[in-house]
């Protein structure tokens, strides 16, 4: 769906994207995370055909963004950070303009604008000037303009910045809805907790490099999980016991608490527990350690620091 190879982008003073390469499958929401100035916005701009990289390839739906940026805009929607609105136009005029600009035929203009306005709750504001809308409504209008042509691929740069918690929740719900409809989204944000609500994959960019490209998709599709075993007393054979299990890796034991990576399914987890009880291990709890996006992010960053 989105294929990026050896992408490099230079600003006069430095290279901001360094050999970036990844592949994103359709129907996913990928969180694009990274510190300020890491290259997130530049990467999104390149993906959307707003900036041309010095070298590399970007293919979306089999179309080269570098060779045919205008063709890509037919099935791509991008809401940049700090986007603006035509403040002297009404909401209806703004939507009609973007619908027309995206080649929606005249006989479908009305239905397209009404449909997207209804989805985003803008229908009661159609006659208001864009300049008179509050921050939240402006954001919704921006999203409506971006999605008016029903794009398959959607890029959102910091879409929740400046929104109140309620509006953020609404936005998360809306993005998940879009994903369920089969859209592919890349959402960039500083706020990892916000990305946690809806992202299925994560991509971290630091100093222009994509950290461990294999990490794309790991967050949601990972077959391994972290288990925590708690005992009520020290059990000396614990290390040997855990080491002997094929599906267990990265064991760490501190007194009566053991934490390890488990690659099995729920049935195998049940078998493990049974074996422990049969061996008379003083088990009082075996639970999955919930790893969130923030943990994955920090873990990736730590690993990268160690490698460098």
């Amino acid at each position: 769906m989105i294929k990026v190879k050896n992408l490099n982008f230079d600003y006069p003073e430095k290279r901001v994207l360094k050999d970036v390469a990844f592949f994103i499958e359709g129907g996913s929401i990928t969180a694009l995370a990274g510190p300020n100035g890491a290259g997130k916005t530049t990467l999104l701009n390149c993906l959307a055909g707003l900036q041309t990289p010095i070298s590399g390839n970007i293919e979306i739906n089999g179309v080269s963004v570098i060779d045919e940026p205008r063709r890509c805009h037919e099935f791509l929607g991008f809401l940049p950070d700090n986007f603006g609105l035509y403040v002297d136009l009404t909401v209806r005029q703004c939507l009609t303009y973007f619908a027309r600009a995206h080649n929606i035929p005249p006989n479908r203009l009305e239905s397209a604008t009404i449909s997207i306005a209804e989805r985003l709750g803008l229908i009661d504001h159609m006659s208001e000037r864009a300049g008179s809308l509050s921050r939240g409504w402006r954001q919704k209008l921006g999203i409506a303009q971006t999605l008016i042509h029903d794009p398959e691929i959607i890029f959102l740069d910091e879409p929740a910045s400046g929104l109140d918690p309620m509006a953020r929740k609404d936005l998360s719900r809306f993005l998940v809805e879009l994903q369920k409809e089969g859209k592919t989204l890349i959402v960039s944000s500083h706020i990892l907790a916000e990305l946690e609500d809806y992202s299925t994959h994560m991509m971290i960019i630091q100093d222009g490099r994509l950290l461990d490209p294999m990490a794309v998709g790991q967050h949601a599709t990972q077959s391994t999980k972290i288990l925590v075993l708690e005992l009520y007393d020290i059990w000396p054979p614990l290390t040997d016991f855990l080491s002997a299990v094929d599906t267990i890796d990265q064991i760490s034991i501190e007194g009566t608490r053991a934490q390890f990576q488990f690659a099995g399914d729920l049935r195998e987890q049940n078998e493990l527990l049974k074996k422990l009880v049969n061996r008379s291990a003083p088990v009082c709890a075996l639970q999955t350690l919930e790893s969130n996006l923030q943990d994955s992010y920090l873990e990736q960053m730590k690993r990268n620091d160690l490698q460098s």
Binding site: G49, F83, G84, Q93, F98, A101
Partner: protein
Amino acid sequence: MISNPELKRNLWSQCTLHKLIVGPLILFGVIVAIGMGAEESSTPFAWGSLLLFIAITGLWGSSLVSESIPVEVQSGTWPLQKLTPISPWTMTWGKILGASSYAWYLGIICLLTFFWALGDMPQHDLNALFSQNRILLFSLLISISLSGQSLALFLSFSALTHQRSNKKQQSIVVFIFLAFLFLSLFQGRPLPLVSWYGRSLQFYHFYLGTLLFLLFWVATGSYLLMRKELQLANASLGWMCFITSSNVYMMGFPWNLTVDNSASTLSQLIAGFILTWMLSYAALFWGMTNGIKVRESLLQWKEKRWRDWDSGLPRWIHTLLLLAILGMGITVYELLNSRQDWEGPPLNGLAWALFFFVLRDTALVLYFNFSKNPKPNLMAPLVYLAVLYGLIPTLLSLLGGSGWNFIFFPHLEASTALKIGAPFLEALLMAYFAIKRWRANFAKVH
């Protein structure tokens, strides 16, 4: 039904009902005030409405078009517009006509008043321009305003592409351009004939042709810059066509450079050479090739991405190529023909001296552009060029050393070897420094 979305959006913004009603009322008041002093003569009406037309569509319309891009950039709507699949040409004409739509609305009212007043004008007040066919007159006036507006958009895009915005400078350039075009309309009687490629043409017919030529290239320039903004590759063929057609246009005039005052081949070659020489500097300063661009071009060459390479190639290279071809033409002509038809001082390699001086200056500008400063410095090379062409030769002359001036500019009296050799060596030296600086600052990526 307006199919151009950019034009329609501009119409919504510019032409509100309130403005559509109030504007003509104010205009009517102004025209009536102008005509108050007239004693049953429509001459003041004609002049007033003509000047108002030029002021409204030309000056104000150009200003509106010029502001259309910076306003979009500042308000953050420009990236959203670039993300639509509207074609660059649709966007270009949508912006030119859309941003100035209200000015055209008022301008057309002025133009109608002008033609109405012209019908009642006494014969003795009709000058050469006013006596022209109405369609020709209409075409001339519309073309002038459209050319001004297209130039305004071109300059606005140019400022955006090169990230240097100077609204005041842009306004001055557009004002001078419009003033020149408008004032050139007024010719005394008998109306001069224009000699072009040996044919005698009626002045206003030729002038309209020239205006359309200008309009075509300024609008094409805006279109090409719009394409660049939309990340589309521009073949260098566009620039080649521009410089070639400009040469064809200029070479058509009898330059009176030769003994028999005819538009001889040599005259034409010299006229073309001078024009291309000026265009070389225009392309050099307008393009502002920086270190990144060179790195990009080298990479594209290495990766055999010919379309991107051609698109990114600095346009001064093509201009220098044409300059060399014309220089070659002059040399061949000199070799094959007797020197009798040239009435100035001996040419003797003057064209090549000029060519190598341009090369030296190109290397000098590149040297400054290859500094680590991300924004190319325009002033520094200009100051150095002023010192090289002005200050040092003046000082040398004052000190009695004018014989050494061949080092600083093409000296007619110097021998051919010195005339060509000096700028050639300077160009080599400057190119060495420019390449060295580029290697130090841009060869490695950080």
